[in-house]
């Protein structure tokens, strides 16, 4: 059941003859707005404020006084000149470079297979692939940790070092991919199902094979949905935290600043540097928003081009 949605939802009320503006909508929106202000925007502003301060100890060996002083952009400079910060960004991008295309490709392939003519056992497969979505990221990481370690691995951990220098990226990406694959597959499958069947009939009469059907008709028609899958995968990749944190105690290959969010966490919660942590977090925030806007713009352009 497709819901064709365009931006035509503006209610006619405003075009009607003059009527009292109802108070209800404002009341209905109020809780959301208040909560957003309190828990999304206020913390962001506070983080920005903190990022401009630092701790200063004075007096005595152990500091009889401990005060917050203005630090200007010191924390930002420290973050941006720290090679570990860029290293963590690079590592996260590597994981994303492995994970995002994998999710996109696999989800698309599976969705197409589900939609293929005369495919069998689709109900079972769909459920089996979707189920990992129900497993929290931390639990999934614990599970895969067991699967990677030679001691308990049923997938050849004795022969392959899943925690090696290069394999670690695949290992981490795999856990994330495993968790979201099913959900994205279902999103794309639903988009496929909303394509009018008449389009296929014509092509099949012309003798198109299933594969050609998939590539030439189905893919372009679900391009917007694919963009959305890509977008959310990228956003998710930028927030990579649970998986490397949970895998960290199992191996030397993951440091406490392996990805940017771990660095924010380490600064704030392990090193007791909430100011440096706030600067890193704010820098990340700006970068994330920039990237997602970029992906959105690029994706929309691409899908516009293909649906022409």
């Amino acid at each position: 059941m497709a819901i064709a949605l365009t931006a035509e939802g503006s209610p006619p009320a405003s075009r009607r003859s003059r009527r009292r503006r109802p108070a209800l909508p404002v009341l209905l929106v109020a809780p959301a707005v208040i909560l957003l202000l309190l828990f999304t925007f206020a913390p962001a502003v506070y983080a920005f404020v903190l990022s401009l301060l630092k701790n200063h100890v004075s007096g005595g060996l152990l500091g009889t006084s401990n005060e917050q002083v203005f630090a200007g952009i010191e924390n930002y400079i420290a973050t941006l000149t720290d090679s570990e910060f860029w290293g963590s960004l690079g590592r996260m991008l590597l994981v994303a470079a492995v994970g995002v295309p994998t999710v996109l490709i696999l989800a698309t392939v599976f969705a197409l297979c589900l939609d293929a003519n005369r495919a069998r056992l689709t109900g079972f497969s769909r459920l089996a692939i979707f189920l990992p979505y129900a497993v929290p990221g931390v639990i999934a990481s614990l599970l895969w940790g067991f699967l990677y370690l030679p001691a308990t691995s049923p997938i050849g951990g004795q022969f392959v070092d899943y925690f090696g220098n290069t394999t670690i990226f695949f290992a981490v990406a795999n856990v994330a991919v495993w968790g979201v694959l099913g959900f994205n597959m279902v999103v794309l499958y639903t988009a496929l199902k909303s394509i009018p069947r008449e389009l296929f009939d014509a092509a099949q009469i012309d003798g198109a094979s299933e594969l050609q059907l998939a590539l030439r008709i189905k893919l372009p028609m679900i391009a917007p949905a694919m963009t959305m899958v890509a977008l959310f995968s990228v956003i998710g990749a930028l927030q990579l935290f649970n998986e490397p944190t949970t895998l960290k105690p199992l191996t030397n290959a993951i440091s406490s600043t392996w990805v940017p969010l771990m660095r924010v966490y380490t600064d704030s919660f392990v090193n007791n540097d909430i100011y440096g942590g706030a600067a890193s977090a704010f820098t990340l925030l700006v970068m994330t928003v920039g990237v997602t806007v970029l992906v959105n713009v690029v994706g929309t352009r691409l899908s516009n081009r293909s649906s022409r």
């Binding site: 060996l61 067991f146 406490s256 919660f269 392990v270 007791n272």
Partner: protein, 434 residues
């Protein structure tokens, strides 16, 4: 549909409001009703502490203690305490390990308790050094955890090693014997995830990471003694004589259980943990002194050990101090601690309590385990003082050495990174560093 939906939603919603209402009333710090008992909150992560607290509560109806088991332990907990001290929501008493005490003091988390404690004469100067700063006492020392060498006696015997290595040279030789007899076996692992394992070994070698004169700090994490330790272990790792993975991972657990790792340099508390690490090997381990740099040198470092600190947020410091003193400096308290938490008392006065005459269950084949502990405890040495940002030092150790192990790069460089990062952070905060 609408009604059912709303009804279905109503139940969890009211549950939310109900439960939240119940717990919103819980606050830290106690009541100060003159008619009711004083209520204290106590955060501690040790297994078995609930029995100790229950015993106190039974005998002291006027001072009731609530035990809270924290989510994060160690520095995760300490950082929370630091944040919360400004908000005033810290518990009355908190478990704080020796290396973290300076951090807690400089962040105003804990307060001196001299005026509440009668006497600490029964503690050695060495032990008191860990809790006294600038003339004030910040906690009652609970335990002492010397480093101990645990090894699989059966496997050593089978390899022809009749006594445990007495020097580090012998340790290296034994490592080679074991590994060449069975390439899957290692005498130990190099633990890049446990900074206090490394600091304990450095203490033994004579390292002195921090010292202070007046208000000036001196930081020497990469001093000659520590470099000696780092190079030694790098040598073992390069020759593939020790396993590279961190302790407490599933891999290491398996290796310990199946006999692929046959030794563990750990703290006095290890027998507490071994039952779930390597349950199949109970009774096969023996404990001995850690090998020395020169034969006959008995100096040993520590890994762990703690006080219970009274926090600045506590509204009843006198009662809190009373509780802490009972727990850590009374026969009754220590008997309970030994029996349930398996500590080894910091004060010599309690080191021959009858409760210690039985070894921990895992070391049942070594009846004089605690005699060995007493011996080691009398030779404990340590740094002059722990730095005000030991948390940063520890975290950098894990990152730097972990990286060095994975990439096979120089441990000395990693050590220098630890030194430089520590000093930089201290200077940034405003400490005077020589």
């Amino acid at each position: 549909m609408n009604k059912k939906l709303l009804r279905a939603l109503a139940i969890p919603v009211s549950a939310v409001i109900g439960l939240a209402g119940l717990t919103a009333c819980s606050t830290a710090g106690g009541d100060s009703g003159s008619s009711g008992p004083v209520k204290l909150t106590f955060v501690n992560w040790d297994n078995g502490m609930d029995v100790v607290v229950a015993a106190w509560n039974k005998a002291n109806p006027n001072i009731q203690v609530k035990l809270i088991k924290p989510s994060g332990t160690g520095y995760t907990l300490y950082n929370k305490l630091i944040t919360d001290t400004k908000a005033g929501t810290n518990p009355d008493v908190a478990e704080i390990e020796y290396p973290a005490i300076p951090l807690m003091i400089s962040n105003k988390v804990i307060v001196p308790i001299d005026k509440y404690i009668s006497s600490l004469d029964n503690y050695s100067k060495n032990v008191l050094n860990r809790v006294q700063f600038e003339g004030k006492t910040y906690g009652v020392p609970q335990n002492i955890c010397p480093l101990v060498f645990f090894y699989r006696k059966d496997i050593f015997d089978a390899a022809g090693i009749t006594k445990p290595p007495a020097t580090w040279d012998e340790f290296a030789a034994d490592a080679a014997i074991i590994h060449s007899a069975n390439p899957k076996q290692y005498i130990s692992n190099f633990d890049a995830n446990s900074p206090e394992w490394f600091s304990g070994l450095s203490e033994q070698a004579g390292g002195n990471w921090w010292s202070a004169s007046g208000s000036t700090w001196s930081v020497n994490i990469d001093d000659a003694a520590t470099q000696k330790v780092a190079s030694y272990w790098q040598g073992l790792l390069d020759k593939d004589l020790v396993a590279p993975g961190p302790s407490w991972s599933t891999q290491w657990n398996t290796d310990m259980n199946t006999g692929n790792i046959v030794g563990w340099i750990s703290g006095q508390w290890a027998p507490n943990q071994l039952p779930s690490i390597a349950p199949d090997t109970a009774g096969k381990w023996a404990a001995a002194a850690v090998p020395a740099w020169t034969a006959g040198d008995k100096k040993i470092g520590t890994w762990g050990g703690e006080v219970e600190g009274v926090t600045a947020n506590s509204k009843h410091p006198a009662e809190a101090a009373k509780f802490v003193n009972w727990m850590n400096n009374s026969q009754e308290g220590l008997n309970l601690l030994i029996k349930n938490v398996q500590v080894f008392p910091a004060s010599a006065k309690y080191q021959s309590l009858p409760a210690l005459s039985t070894p921990p269950p895992f070391m049942s084949t070594q009846p004089d385990y605690n005699t060995l502990m007493a011996q080691l405890a009398s030779n404990v040495t340590g740094f002059d003082i722990w730095g005000p940002n030991a948390n940063i030092t520890f975290n950098t150790y894990s990152d730097a050495f972990g990286k060095a192990v994975t990439n096979k790069t120089s441990f000395l460089d990693a050590l220098k990174t630890v030194q430089d990062t520590t000093v930089a952070d201290m200077k940034k905060s405003g400490y005077t560093v020589k």
